[in-house]
């Protein structure tokens, strides 16, 4: 019988387009100190640390976590890094959960950090093309990198394949409305990169196409920052909660799936994001959830692209496949709807500090459950080429 595991502390640094003032060493330390303070704990009480860092090239070093071990005060203890593309944060949380549930440790730090925009393109004298290039090194190195593979064009492949099957879904007016809605949500997230960047659906519609069919205001922005959770097994978690007065938010379901990276018969089914579907339903099974639309109150979804948000919501059972637009048209995620989707503003408005992103989502999900007195939140991460990786956690507040 595995042990219950819960979140007892959480913190994030501000997510900023560029942190000139801090390296990733200090960003990681800032968020860790904040999360430990939230949990009323000393780092001396922590048994293990799990690092969520996506890309060595962003940090400009291989095994980028090694200096953090001592900087976080975790020398001579367990430390392990997870790197699974965009899903890095969600996967790291799932790894930490497994170690604690198995009884290996009583407490763990889950530390996500990314310094994504230090890289710079000296030809266009701007950072973004170089950021996209760095992520481009994640594509298949024999068959795809040299022909211009990017995260955006590989997700666009999936979205367009979905639109081939469902030509009446993902209407531009609806994706624009979802982006505008998220820009309203972000207003209450003081740590977000674009807290004050509210946009109208018309502005989204008029924004330029970056990679067809994605427009600029429908894409997550790359960010620098850190996010940390403190996890504890049941007995320890309850003791910490008694001390802080903050309820434990339990991790009651965990699921993951990685699809094939090549497409075609018996391989990746392009119009689907099976990784998200399988990950979500595995997490539902573990959490005993039959009807996600009824059981879940908050979804903190990795919105790399608005179109993908719609497909992922359908894959996770919040609307039918082919009816992603019902999220708006039937009011599922509009104010007062059944699902509060990305109250933090999502990665489109909070920013995508890759390794830290899903952990920031979990920070938001946990805080919103407590603040609003709601029952369940879902945290989601997606990553790799053609949405290959998916990881989902169910958070529960009793």
């Amino acid at each position: 019988m595995s042990r219950r595991v819960g979140i007892v502390g959480a913190a994030v640094t501000p997510f900023k387009a560029k942190w000139y003032e801090k390296t990733y060493y200090e960003l990681a330390q800032m968020a860790t100190a904040g999360a430990l303070k939230d949990a009323g704990m000393s780092v001396k009480d922590c048994d293990a640390v799990f690092y969520a860092i996506y890309n060595d090239i962003f940090e400009r070093t291989c095994i980028p976590e090694h200096p953090l071990q001592g900087i976080l005060g975790m020398q001579d203890k367990f430390g392990m890094r997870v790197s699974t593309g965009g899903a890095t944060g969600a996967y790291t949380l799932s790894a930490a959960h497994a170690y604690l549930a198995a009884g290996r440790f009583k407490t763990a730090i889950v530390c996500g950090v990314e310094k994504a925009t230090d890289c710079f393109d000296f030809m266009s004298m701007s950072a973004t093309p170089e950021v996209i290039k760095v992520i481009g090194w994640s594509g298949d190195s024999f068959f795809e990198q040299k022909i211009g593979w990017t995260a955006a064009d590989s997700y666009a492949e999936v979205v367009l394949a979905y639109m081939d099957e469902h030509p009446d879904d993902l209407k531009p007016e609806i994706t624009a409305q979802i982006s505008a809605l998220l820009s309203q949500h972000v207003k209450t997230n003081p740590f977000a990169q674009r807290q004050h960047d509210q946009v109208t659906p018309e502005e989204v519609m008029n924004s330029r196409i970056v990679v067809y069919p994605f427009k600029e205001l429908e894409i997550c922005v790359y960010t620098e920052g850190a996010a940390v959770l403190i996890l504890a097994e049941e007995e320890t978690a309850l003791a910490i909660s008694k001390n802080t007065g903050t309820p434990v938010v339990w991790i009651t379901g965990v699921g993951e799936a990685n699809e094939h990276s090549f497409a075609g018969k018996n391989h990746k089914v392009m119009p689907r994001i099976m990784s998200d579907h399988l990950a979500a339903y595995r997490a539902y099974e573990m959490a005993g959830i039959k009807d996600p639309l009824e059981a879940i109150d908050i979804v903190e979804l990795h919105d790399a692209f608005v179109h993908q948000l719609e497909i992922t919501m359908a894959e996770m059972g919040f609307c039918p496949l082919g009816r992603g637009d019902s999220l708006i048209e039937d009011g599922i995620i509009t104010p007062g709807g059944k699902i509060l989707c990305n109250p933090c503003g999502g990665l489109i408005y909070s920013g995508h500090a890759v390794g830290a992103s899903n952990i920031m989502s979990a920070w938001s999900g946990r805080n919103e459950l407590i603040a609003r007195g709601l029952r369940r939140a879902l945290v989601h991460g997606t990553g790799s080429t053609i949405a290959q990786y998916g990881a989902v956690e169910i958070l529960e507040h009793d």
Partner: protein
């Protein structure tokens, strides 16, 4: 060979100089250093050697067929079939015509290595007789690639570059409908055998009084916008370090846009040495984009705006970012 004639893995213009700068935030100085993380390879192509050598030397595409289940994978990315407990596969020779597995995306804003190539498509082509899809670049011979030209199930012909290095970039594909039946049937069709439509500057008719009125209004708005730029710090950053002289031609008249390290200047007339030319019948196509009422990229896609050099999409993106920053400054 001298550095000037050698074809370099890293383009020389991409390389930063040794140096750095100071960024001051809240009165505190922070050091920012120019840097690079570089590694060179003599990279083994291993089991893929036959595939890449066939591209380079024989202008042929190879696949692999599972000896047990018969599935044909192109590219031949494995030698044993994991679906059949790692039964061996055998090499098969493929044709070079196929159909798109799904509608391919088109990249307009590329990473730093591909900025000279936008817009380009990359999609998945299922060659006739194959079960899996080959990731491949997509072009049209008829001008700028826009949505709708290549869709799911569009028949495509693989074309070989004249100069081949044994890399995936040795091939790309174009719609079979743009070729003659002989070209579609010809094995190993070369890039130089295609009839690429030359970029021809669109002709503008004689101006009407209405065109001229529109032009004058547009010129006035652009001039006002250039004036606003002087105090718009964020928008100035979007065109910082950038220098371009752009000739703009519209039915109602010509103007010159000058981008100069944060400054934007507009004047009526022509210049004899522009970096590139933009042509639109109605000047408001340009003005709307610059005022963030529309998208310049979108106007190029819909052919309302013609650009003489595709690589100057970089400048278009800078102008669009600038337009958004300027609009935001005004909103706040």
């Amino acid at each position: 060979m001298s550095p000037e004639t050698r074809k370099m893995i890293i383009p020389l213009e991409a390389l930063p100089e040794v140096g750095g700068h100071i960024q001051t935030i809240d009165g505190q100085d922070y050091l920012v250093l120019n840097d690079a993380m570089f590694t060179f390879y003599q990279r083994s192509q291993g089991e893929f050697s036959a595939f890449f050598l066939a591209l380079r030397d024989k202008k042929k595409l190879l696949g692999c067929k599972c000896t047990k289940c018969g599935i044909v994978r192109v590219p031949p990315f494995l030698t044993r079939c994991p679906d059949c407990d790692f039964a061996p596969t055998e090499t098969v020779e493929m044709g070079d015509v196929g159909r798109m597995l799904c509608t391919p995306p088109i990249t307009y804003f590329a990473n730093s290595l591909f900025q000279g190539q936008v817009p380009f498509g990359r999609g998945r082509l299922v060659l006739d007789g194959a079960d899996t899809a080959l990731s491949i670049n997509i072009y049209t011979t008829k001008g700028i690639l826009v949505p709708g030209i290549v869709k799911k199930d569009t028949e495509m012909k693989v074309v070989f570059r004249d100069e081949r290095n044994g890399e995936i970039t040795d091939i790309f594909c174009v719609p079979a409908s743009e070729l003659t039946p002989e070209q579609v049937a010809k094995p190993g069709l070369l890039e130089s055998e295609l009839d690429w439509e030359a970029a021809v500057e669109p002709a503008l008719g004689a101006p009407t009084a209405d065109d001229e009125a529109k032009f004058n209004a547009g010129l006035a708005e652009l001039s006002a916008l250039a004036e606003e730029m002087k105090g718009a710090e964020r928008a100035r950053r979007d065109i910082a370090g950038w220098h371009r002289v752009v000739q703009v031609k519209s039915a109602g008249g010509f103007l010159v846009l000058e981008i100069d390290d944060g400054d934007l200047r507009v004047r009526q007339g022509s210049t004899d040495k522009p970096d590139f030319t933009l042509v639109c019948t109605d000047i408001s196509t340009l003005v709307n984009g610059m005022a963030y009422r529309g998208s310049l990229t979108q106007a190029i896609i819909t052919k309302d705006l013609w650009i003489s050099l595709n690589r100057e999409f970089t400048t278009i993106f800078k102008l669009e970012r600038m337009a958004r920053s300027l609009a935001r400054t005004k909103k706040v």
